[in-house]
């Protein structure tokens, strides 16, 4: 099942929710608020959310975007769920390294590996 929202492309794979961004730049304040609301709604719709967020095609982000991801991560954890990030380009991954958020998020090179980690119950990301 697939549904297209303004800022996100959402696909359901069994009980796993896959999300891709439709904008290459997710740093705009208006975009971020909207993206945060849509992601929150996805998390709150699940009892124990299992979410994969792909950064394919995203070429920029800001600390506001990082803040939104952290808020979503906290919501997922509060519902005893799991969040995976994947397809992060090297320049953006550097932002995760600088902020040490690579140690907070579970990050995988590809969506396939992120999905496999959820199915196998792996507790750490491939990219640290």
């Amino acid at each position: 099942m697939q549904q297209d929202a303004a800022r996100l492309k959402v696909t359901h794979e069994g009980d796993i929710v896959q999300v891709e961004f439709t904008s290459r730049k997710i740093l705009d304040e208006a975009n971020i608020a909207e993206i945060g609301d849509q992601l929150s709604a996805l998390v709150e719709a699940e009892h124990r959310p299992r979410l994969v967020i792909s950064f394919a095609g995203v070429d920029h982000l800001s600390s506001a975007a990082l803040g939104t991801l952290i808020t979503i991560n906290n919501k997922v954890k509060n519902r005893d769920g799991q969040l995976r990030l994947c397809n992060i380009n090297p320049q953006i991954f550097e932002v995760f390294l600088i902020t040490k958020l690579n140690t907070l998020f579970h990050i995988y090179p590809t969506i396939k590996e992120a999905l496999e980690s959820l199915r196998s119950g792996a507790q750490t990301g491939r990219l640290q």
């Binding site: 705009d28 304040e29 932002v95 600088i98 902020t99």
Partner: protein, 184 residues
Amino acid sequence: MRPVFARVVTGTLMKHLKLQAGSRGRRESREKSVGLWCSEEFPSQMAEGRRVEEKILSQCRKYAYGQRDLFALKLALEEAICNAIRHGNKSTPNKHVRVKYRITRERIDVMVEDEGSGFDPAVLPDPTADQNLERACGRGVLLMRAYMNNVVFNSVGNSVMLTKFNESYSSSDTPINSTTVAFG
């Protein structure tokens, strides 16, 4: 609401910069290093901030700044302008943000100033500390410092000067000192 305007800063500031550049030696180096200061002032709205960001980045492309530099500049400008609007001016529509910038082939200097009461960057919590990792905010200054060659706040803390050297620029000339521009 004051109209958005762009103007070239002349007079005392240019004289000051020329005097400083003159003390650095070769005439060729001086002419290359001293660009024109431009200024923009806009109300506390991110859309206006983004317009100014794009204007500055567009000029950097003309000076052949590379993709890495442009990524760094966009990120740092976004953080500085967002801080000015949200934390400095508290998003108050009738408060303005002032951006002054100077671009040469070698380097870019950008000053972002708000109408707020300022802050002390020295007392910011470390956002990379374990206990702060799950906080949703507080990473802007860290990112500015990581991606710029120099980041200097004025004593009040309502103005920041960002400096970035053009990584694509190669010359036997010694880059000018990044901390000598008029500021504060």
